[in-house]
């Protein structure tokens, strides 16, 4: 189940003497195509829905020349923050999954499979059901505490002279099962009304996302994305395996700890806004790897694919059974679970 060692079909751009930026040409193509797809999806999301607007109307609203207050409300206060939330959550999840998979050298390692998402959900549920629905800012604290607590437990249990990928996954599934029991317990303790609300949150949904939720996420992304990029070279070395990476002079355990912290913070930031949206973190890096033709995990393409996937899924979730709004996490769960099955069966056929 370990990945093939990364191919080095890289080109290097030397803008200044002494500066070398290696890149992979196909990754650039993938980034460009993702950007086009994202633009198209953004336009589609802005233009369609219960309240339809002409393209020129949307343009006027965006540039602040709209007099219709309803159009202003719909575009600026409802659709725009949701689009931005989709982009940022998808990006964070894609990046988080990519870091995780690269580090564990296992395509199945992702924050949702190994139980961090369930743990973050537990943190939020405790806050939701104990404290009531008051403060949205405290939810992200709950997600962070829950996610990191779970991560710490899984990491400590799975650690045995270094973290072994498969062991990490199985331990994560076991811990996730335990947390899932706690989550369903918390939900049955609640009144029907708050149980329903908590359950919708648990499915992962971007309904009714507003600016106060999106802005902290934006802030997190501005800190974490550069941090992830700064660590990407270490990740590349780790993909060769711990021994080779150590032989090449990488401080393996410290690098892993840094990568895990960045990965989980990204996931927790995403969860605190959208709830536990499953499988984007699992699928995006794998799709990016296949599409870009890179041997290893590529961070930027994974982030771009993650954002594209979530935008597409959210558009589908909004319009598929309209006016009923499917929580986007359920849609990604159903599609992603099927994708995971496909991934597994193909991999096993190859092994056999």
């Amino acid at each position: 189940m370990t990945e093939a060692s990364p191919k080095l079909n890289r080109t290097t751009w030397r803008p200044l003497p002494g500066v070398a930026l290696p890149y992979q040409p196909r990754s650039l193509w993938l980034l460009a195509i993702s950007l086009i797809a994202i633009t198209a999806l953004v336009i589609a999301t802005l233009l369609t829905g219960e309240f339809t607007l002409s393209p020129s109307g949307v343009w006027q609203t965006l540039t602040g020349q709209q007099d219709d207050s309803l159009a202003n409300l719909v575009v600026l206060e409802l659709r725009l923050p949701r689009i931005l939330a989709c982009l940022l959550v998808g990006l964070a999840l894609g990046l988080s999954g990519a870091i995780f998979q690269g580090m564990a050298r296992n395509p199945l390692a992702s924050p949702d499979v190994v139980g961090f998402t369930t743990g973050a959900a537990t943190g939020v549920l405790v806050l939701l059901l104990v404290e009531g629905f008051a403060v949205t800012a405290s939810l992200s604290v709950g997600a962070m505490v829950g996610g990191f607590g779970t991560a710490l437990i899984v990491y400590l249990l799975a650690m045995r002279r270094g973290v072994h990928g498969q062991r990490l996954i199985l331990v994560g599934i076991a811990i996730g099962a335990m947390l899932a029991a706690i989550n369903s317990y918390l939900i049955t303790r609640a009144e029907l009304e708050s149980a329903q609300a908590a359950r919708i949150w648990m499915h992962g949904s971007l309904n009714g996302v507003s600016w106060p939720q999106v802005l902290p996420l934006l802030l997190w992304s501005l800190i974490l994305v550069p941090a992830a990029m700064a660590l990407s070279r270490r990740l590349g070395l780790l993909e060769f395996g711990d021994d080779i990476a150590a032989g090449l002079g990488l401080p393996v355990n410290r690098s892993k700890t840094q990568l895990i912290v960045v990965s989980i913070t990204l996931a927790a930031a995403a969860i605190s806004v959208g709830g536990p949206i499953g499988f984007v973190a699992l699928a995006a890096p794998q799709l990016a790897r296949k599409l870009a033709g890179t041997g290893g995990i590529a961070l930027l393409p994974s982030a771009a694919v993650g954002a594209t996937l979530l935008l597409a899924a959210d558009l589908l979730a909004q319009r598929l059974l309209a006016p009923f709004q499917i929580p986007v996490g359920l849609l990604t769960g159903a599609l992603g679970g099927a994708y995971l099955l496909f991934l597994l069966s193909r991999e096993w056929r190859r092994v056999d």
């Binding site: 072994h164 329903q196 359950r199 159903a334 099955l341």
Partner: protein
């Protein structure tokens, strides 16, 4: 999983020891049955319970004992038998110690089919959706089994878990979409889905009785032939066992046991995982002993969990599925840690 060891396990002393263990379990189960009838929201002293049992006088306590606690206890026993036996059968069939209804996504399959029954066909009673539950069990079991292959190796054991996790996620999400879209089903569904012996109408216990009995009867009939299966297909065939037939019958038995108990109590997790493991630690790898022990140990786990759930969170109750998950998830963690340690050596 290893083959039955030959030297020590057939000696007269170990047979005596195992029989004695069987009697001890019977005594424990009887004690739990009494507790299950005696313990509840309304405190009834043990002599009044006894009087109500032997000579029901139609009083309030007698009604509680006969109308509420007896059916609930019977249901607990049946669900325990169903889950314990089906877990043991799955582990025998797949030769995989991690095989269990919850982990393989079979609970999710049953839940998905039951939700279809509730929302699409408007079925709300047990006798209606027991068929859907069994169909769901059979379909998912066949799918996971097919996906993960049957090599008995440690790679395959991990595969089974991963395939189960993927199926659980996929069907769980689909179930979620349906229950949200059709919010009427949600309120009844959310209590079914945590796995509970509470709030089931008394008739459910009697309706599920023949299904569990039939399944258990099939397991008894298969009995020793499972030992041949545990040795691998080739050895089994050489020993004169019709492997395909045994496998097909086992699948039917699992469907009856697991589907029946899941329809009655909702998906109660981890019983099918814990019971055969605990039993194997006591009696060793001989299926002729594991199966009768599981028949007793399953109800013991379910009844004990149910009783704990009744008294641990007053004034409310904790559903039995939540209690078994709290106990069972650490067991899973332990098994995983032990397994991966062994495979890393």
């Amino acid at each position: 999983m290893t083959a039955p060891s030959t030297s020590s396990s057939h000696g007269p002393s170990s047979r005596l020891r195992r029989s004695a263990g069987l009697f001890a379990l019977v005594a424990l189960l009887a004690l739990l049955v009494l507790c299950s009838i005696g313990v509840g929201a309304r405190p009834i002293s043990i002599d009044i319970v006894w009087r109500a049992l032997v000579a029901p006088d139609g009083g309030r306590d007698a009604i509680i004992v006969w109308q509420l606690r007896m059916p609930r206890t019977l249901l607990g026993i049946l669900v325990g038998v169903g889950l314990g036996l089906s877990g043991a059968m799955m582990q025998a069939l797949t030769r995989n110690p991690l095989a269990a209804p919850g982990l393989l996504g079979i609970n999710a399959g049953a839940a998905f089919f039951v939700v279809i029954a509730i929302s699409v066909f408007g079925i709300t009673n047990f006798s209606g959706y027991v068929w859907f539950s069994m169909a769901g069990c059979a379909a998912t079991a066949a799918l996971v089994y097919r996906l993960s292959g049957n090599t008995g190796s440690s790679v395959q054991q991990v595969r089974l878990i991963l395939a189960g996790a993927a199926i659980s996620a996929c069907l769980g999400a689909a179930t979620g979409i349906i229950t949200l879209y059709n919010s009427q089903t949600f309120d009844s569904y959310r209590f079914w889905v945590v796995g509970s012996l509470q709030n089931r109408v008394p008739e459910v216990a009697f309706q599920v009785l023949p299904i569990i009995l039939l399944g258990a009867g099939m397991v008894v009939a298969l009995g020793g032939r499972l030992n041949a299966l545990a040795l691998g297909d080739d050895v089994g065939r050489a020993l004169g066992v019709r492997i395909t037939q045994v496998r097909a019958l086992s699948m039917v038995a699992i469907t009856l046991l697991c589907g029946g108990s899941t329809a009655a109590a909702g998906p109660v997790g981890f019983v099918g995982l814990m019971v055969p493991h605990a039993v194997r630690m006591i009696v060793g790898p001989d299926w002729r002993w594991i199966l009768p022990y599981s028949v007793l140990a399953g109800p013991i786990v379910v009844l004990a969990s149910d009783i704990v759930g009744r008294i641990i969170a007053p004034p409310g109750e904790l559903e039995v599925g939540i209690v078994t998950a709290f106990v069972g998830a650490p067991v899973l963690l332990f098994l995983v840690l032990r397994k991966t340690q062994a495979s890393q050596r």
